[in-house]
């Protein structure tokens, strides 16, 4: 039985009442929109202050006015004219992109295996992977460093990347989302003669696109802002990531906040772009189409 079978032919009265209901609904919709918009504006207020500060001279930094009395581009010039900035930017972009691809692939591979295969030790493997979220990175940094010296990974891109190639976060996220994929689909695909790898890639993966998009956004962001490990593993400025490079604005005993705000403003831009690209995939429809069939 589909929805269209149940549609009743509208009478004049019913038509009127649907119209009114629609208007009421659209009023409610408008109020909902307004409240959400106002809330959203409140949410970004601290960021507006950040932007405002990035256009201020040091003497004005603690003034409350949102629009600087003497707006200046000096901070941006200072940050951008430093040639190293672009290098750090590209490094971060490169590292975050590779790591994102790796996570999207491996985390969903592992998440799928933990969700859809029945094998002994499944729960233990899941908990073991989950448990890696429970150790603060700070405590892992020294063993990683020693490992990197042994393998000669110090001061290389690979050295920065390797700890983040797979994450328990992504695995857990994907495992949970594969649970929304009906087992019937997988069975059907098996009957069609697909092997498990093909089922995962061609049947299951398209069904969890919203989660994959969310995962991509988060992994990219996490690596874009990662600080402590990239700092420890690198020596040369040429392979610094952006967050490490930007710390050159905080010096002994004091911080030049207007420059920190400028750096933060500039480094938020690419993440915003990545977000805008991927958030389009967080859409409805795929699963619905599947169920109808």
């Amino acid at each position: 039985m589909s929805a269209s079978d149940l549609t009743i032919k509208p009478t004049a009265d019913a038509l009127l009442s649907t119209k009114m209901a629609k208007r009421r609904a659209s009023n409610a919709q408008f109020i909902r929109w307004l409240i959400l918009f106002a809330g959203g504006v409140l949410m970004v207020m601290p960021i507006v202050y950040m932007l405002s500060t990035s256009f201020k001279y040091p003497f004005e930094v603690y003034n409350l006015n949102l629009i600087p009395e003497e707006p200046t581009l000096e901070n941006y010039q200072l940050v951008l004219e430093d040639g190293r900035f672009y290098r750090w930017f590209v490094n971060s972009l490169f590292i975050a992109t590779i790591t994102t691809v790796s996570n999207v692939f491996f985390d969903s591979l592992v998440g799928y295996a933990l969700c859809k295969f029945r094998f002994p030790g499944r729960y233990i493997v899941f908990i073991a992977i989950l448990s890696t979220l429970m150790i603060p990175t700070e405590m892992l940094v020294i063993p990683w460093y020693l490992m990197s010296t042994t393998f000669g990974w110090l001061d290389t891109y690979w050295g920065i990347m390797f700890p983040g190639l797979m994450t328990a976060f992504g695995t857990f996220l994907m495992k949970q989302f594969f649970e929304t994929v009906p087992d019937d689909f997988i069975e059907a695909a098996r009957i069609d003669g697909l092997n498990e790898f093909q089922i995962w890639w061609t049947v299951a993966m398209p069904l969890v696109k919203p989660a994959l998009a969310a995962l991509a956004i988060f992994v990219f962001l996490g690596n874009w802002t990662a600080f402590i490990w990239p700092l420890i593993v690198t020596n040369s400025q040429e392979i610094y990531t952006l967050p490490v490079g930007l710390t050159t604005f905080s010096v002994e005993q004091q911080v030049e906040w207007e420059l920190i705000m400028t750096g933060a403003a500039i480094s938020t831009l690419p993440t915003l772009i990545v977000f805008l690209i991927f958030q389009r995939f967080i859409i409805r429809g795929v699963v619905m189409a599947g169920l109808k069939g």
Binding site: Q29, R32, V44, Y112, A113, I135, T180, I282
Partner: protein
Amino acid sequence: MQFYRHLSISQKQIVWAWAFLALPAIFYVVIRFYPTANAVFLSFQEWNLLGARTWTGFDNYVKLWNDAVFWKVFGNTFLYLIIGTPVSLVISFIIAYHIDKVRFMHGLIRALYFIPFMTSAVAMAWVWRWFYQPVPIGVFNNFLSSFGIAQIEFLNSTTNALPSILAPAVWAGLGFQIIIFMAGLRAIPQTYYEAARIDGISTLTTLWEITLPLLKPTIVFLVVFSSIGFLRIFDQVFNMTTNNPGGPLNSTKPLVLMIYDTAFNSFDMGYAAAQTVVLFAILLVVSLVQLRILRDR
């Protein structure tokens, strides 16, 4: 191939499962489990990072048990969890639920809520610290005093400081939780809603009977992951209290900040490792309990 063909279906599954897991298993063992085991060993040793390691038995744990600061920190850590997780999840669900229903400028609204999550924690902590200052420079207090309301000591107070630091942490994490909730909401087949509408079920019942149960995998993920996040809170506290880490008088210090301080200011790596093991145990127990409760329901 011959061998594979003779396997039963469930045996084939086992083979496939390990084929999927082989490479990741190596990764996790080498990159994650080995350093973790290392930390466990270290918790029975004394090491200042520079010299040799020496065995000290349970000394670090005894010291921890007798450390008044540790118990204070232990309590703080649970406060962050107990307040942070429910508050942030309820708020983010409400927002996600409504954003999901909005069509007009949907992308913009969603972006507005997500941007805080993308912005540098250091920069945001400074802005919030500035907001919280007393007059003349604090935004909130200036606002209050313009209505003739007495100033509030947000950060310089042993009682107000923790919630004041938790607020930006919740604020920054909302975007993350909203996106996950929305991805979860969108994984729910539309047909269920259509059926409900046809049956004339009220919005509230639909929410309760259809949306929330179908959202369970997402909710499990967010509860467990957010709890881990709040128990591991560090960035916000560290950046909001840079001039007096975890202060005033340790009233905001969470366990990870204590670990950081012990490891990289006192260079007492063994003691830091013992704290890490305790944190690990807490997190593991909390996560297992949550997974158990949410599975049974």
